[in-house]
């Protein structure tokens, strides 16, 4: 007993003195560093809210949220109703979603269940690359090329309309959705499929009645997270259509999204002024929308990861 104690003592005092020092310090140091990274979320919320206080005080939260006119630069009669901006964000995200969700779903099923491994080995990196293309490049494509196609297809004078933004956002949503939803489908245990085949179901029947329902919550989370990307996207929508803050849901009209509003108007707003503060209020709204969507997606995801452990 004494002998063992002595070895332990030797180890601690001589052989590992350096390690011991780091060991004692490492926990505290690492914890502090982690706190720094976590405090970013608090900082985002705090600085946004601080910045927006003036606008909420002067204009009033009801007027800001439900006012149907956004006319911040008018000298005599400025108005800061966020409704047109929210309508714009809703419209383009909705258009993007109805295009991207079916295609993304189809692509996910193909990638996860049908594609030959050799095709898969090529398709997966292609989708990752699509997800990695900077939004400004998508914006450029929408502005210079896609716009012309939209104009021609629908017989418009120009294609700088909400639909153009919806289309390019759909292109951006698909890769995110596919890579997240594919994980959910791959997580469905093989036994479930085998049981279904054993009962005589075809591959499609197995997929529709067994695999997809089992992966549903994961797919749902993937859809929510990809919609979140569309809601938060700035550059692509900024370049894809004329930014006009109208409270409309017409896909062939110009609209103005919340993100684009911040990007274009921040340059002309005086620091500390009412307009500046109102733009921070738009930021607060965006932040809250993404926070809610993220929480919902997290909840759903948690459920599916617990279902098949």
């Amino acid at each position: 007993m004494k002998y063992i104690d002595k070895i332990g003592w030797l180890n601690r005092t001589q052989g590992q003195s350096k390690g011991r020092f780091f060991d004692g310090a490492s926990h505290t140091v690492l914890f502090t560093i982690t706190l720094i990274s976590a405090s970013v979320l608090v900082a985002v919320a705090a600085f946004l809210i601080l910045g927006s206080l003036q606008a909420f005080n002067v204009i009033g939260p009801v007027e800001m949220l439900f006012g149907d006119t956004w006319r911040p630069t008018s000298f005599h009669n400025p108005a800061f109703g966020m409704l047109p901006l929210m309508a714009g964000t809703f419209l383009v995200s909705f258009l993007a979603s109805i295009i991207a969700i079916p295609i993304g779903l189809g692509c996910t099923i193909y990638l996860a269940e049908i594609a030959h491994p050799r095709i898969r080995a090529f398709l997966k990196p292609a989708i990752e690359l699509l997800a990695g293309i900077p939004s400004v490049v998508y914006g450029l494509f929408a502005m210079l090329i896609l716009q012309g196609w939209v104009a021609q297809l629908f017989g418009l004078q120009h294609g700088y309309v909400a639909l153009n933004g919806g289309l390019i956002l759909a292109v951006m949503m698909v890769p995110i959705m596919v890579s997240l939803a594919e994980d959910a489908i791959s997580a469905v245990p093989l036994e479930l499929r085998e049981a279904s085949y054993a009962l005589g179901a075809t591959r499609w029947e197995t997929m529709r009645s067994v695999v997809l329902p089992a992966a549903m919550s994961g797919i749902l989370a993937a859809i929510i997270l990809s919609i979140m990307r569309a809601v938060g996207e700035t550059m692509a929508v900024l370049m894809a259509f004329n930014q006009t803050p109208l409270p409309t849901l017409d896909p062939f009209s110009g609209v103005q999204t919340m993100t684009a509003t911040i990007a274009i108007e921040m340059g002309e707003a005086a620091v500390g002024g009412l307009h500046y503060s109102a733009l921070f209020a738009v930021g607060v709204m965006l932040f809250m929308i993404t926070l809610v969507m993220n929480t919902v997606a997290n909840r759903i995801m948690l459920r599916y990861s617990e279902a098949y452990r």
Binding site: Q16, G19, F22, D23, S26, V29, L30, F31, I33, T34, I36, S37, A38, V40, A43, V44, F47, L48, G51, P102, G104, C107, I109, A115, I119, L123, P125, A126, E128, L129, L130, G132, I133, P134, V136, V137, Y138, L140, L144, V171, P175, V178, E205, M228, G232, T234, M235, L238, M239, T259, I262, A263, M266, L286, F287, T290, L291, M293, N294, N298
Partner: protein, 286 residues
């Protein structure tokens, strides 16, 4: 329902899914092809080494390219150490209780915040509050914050993939916790962490909205001479030339060329990340 119609149905659906997959690849090809075709007249090495001229409508892109590389340097210096060490803490020291769940929620929420909102944070925190002004360092720090969640979640995943038997073996030989992490966990997790770092840097290189609010300039006659000066950056350069010059609006080769340069930078980094991950996945199989 008889077997033939069931099989026919399957074929039909499978072809629809196949078409969806093909459509996605087609978009990638179409976008790349248009960007390449548009940039053909300026595609040369000179384009990369010449500064922009004629109100950004002629010349090359060396000034914005250098600005973007500087931004990546700042992100690397700040986001990588903080992100990786946070990931070490979260996966090695933090238990699995509600604490772990809390941190997971924080990190995933951070990853979901729109980039323009990070721009607002940078504007309020670094440009105004900290008094850094519209500068390289303000934009770099904003991008560093934006990349933090990417680094953390990638590094965390890489560390958690290391089997615990490795840690236990090291501990059984008398190594302390930190020694185990330093000598055994981190070396094996390095490829995964590296992949995350590369992806975070490539994302930072392509972001436009945050730097638009925190210091990117339409035109600079010279390279940024200190971290407190304004700068040109490739993604903002594309946006500015495309929307604020007549030539850009009409699709001048200069703007396509800048887009191709940015694409090459970002896709190149992505490819490196994919290769690194693939090679090491084959090397270490637990």
């Amino acid at each position: 329902m008889n077997a033939i119609s069931r099989n026919a149905k399957e074929k039909l659906y499978f072809n629809i899914f196949r078409a969806c997959g093909a459509l996605v690849v087609l978009t990638l090809v179409v976008i790349m092809a248009y960007m390449l075709m548009g940039s053909l007249p300026v595609l040369s090495l000179d384009f990369l080494t010449e500064p922009p001229r004629g109100a950004n409508t002629l010349g090359g892109i060396v000034t914005p390219l250098v600005g973007t590389i500087c931004l990546m340097g700042i992100v690397f210096a700040f986001a990588i150490p903080i992100g990786v060490l946070s990931a070490v803490y979260l996966s090695e020291y933090q238990g699995k209780g509600w604490g772990a769940r809390f941190w997971h929620i924080v990190v995933s929420n951070l990853a979901g915040v729109p980039s323009i909102v990070y721009g607002l944070l940078g504007l309020a925190l670094f440009v105004t509050f900290a008094g850094l002004g519209r500068s390289l360092i303000a934009s770099g720090l904003t991008l560093a914050i934006l990349s933090l969640p990417i680094v953390i979640s990638a590094a965390r995943e890489a560390i958690q993939a290391i089997p615990s038997s490795l840690r236990e073996a090291s501990m059984a030989l008398g190594a302390t916790k930190w020694q185990t992490i330093w000598h055994h966990v981190l070396p094996y997790a390095l490829p995964g962490i590296l992949t995350g770092i590369i992806l975070a840097l490539s994302r930072a290189a392509g972001e436009t909205a945050p730097i638009l609010l925190t210091g990117a300039a339409f035109y600079m006659s010279s390279m940024p001479d200190s971290i407190f000066s304004q700068f040109m950056a490739l993604p903002y350069h594309i946006y500015a030339v495309a929307t604020q010059t007549m030539a850009g609006m009409n699709g001048s080769p200069v703007v396509y060329g800048a887009a191709i340069a940015l694409l090459m930078l970002v896709i190149g980094m992505n490819l490196v990340a994919i290769i690194v991950r693939k090679r090491f996945r084959e090397k270490y199989r637990w």
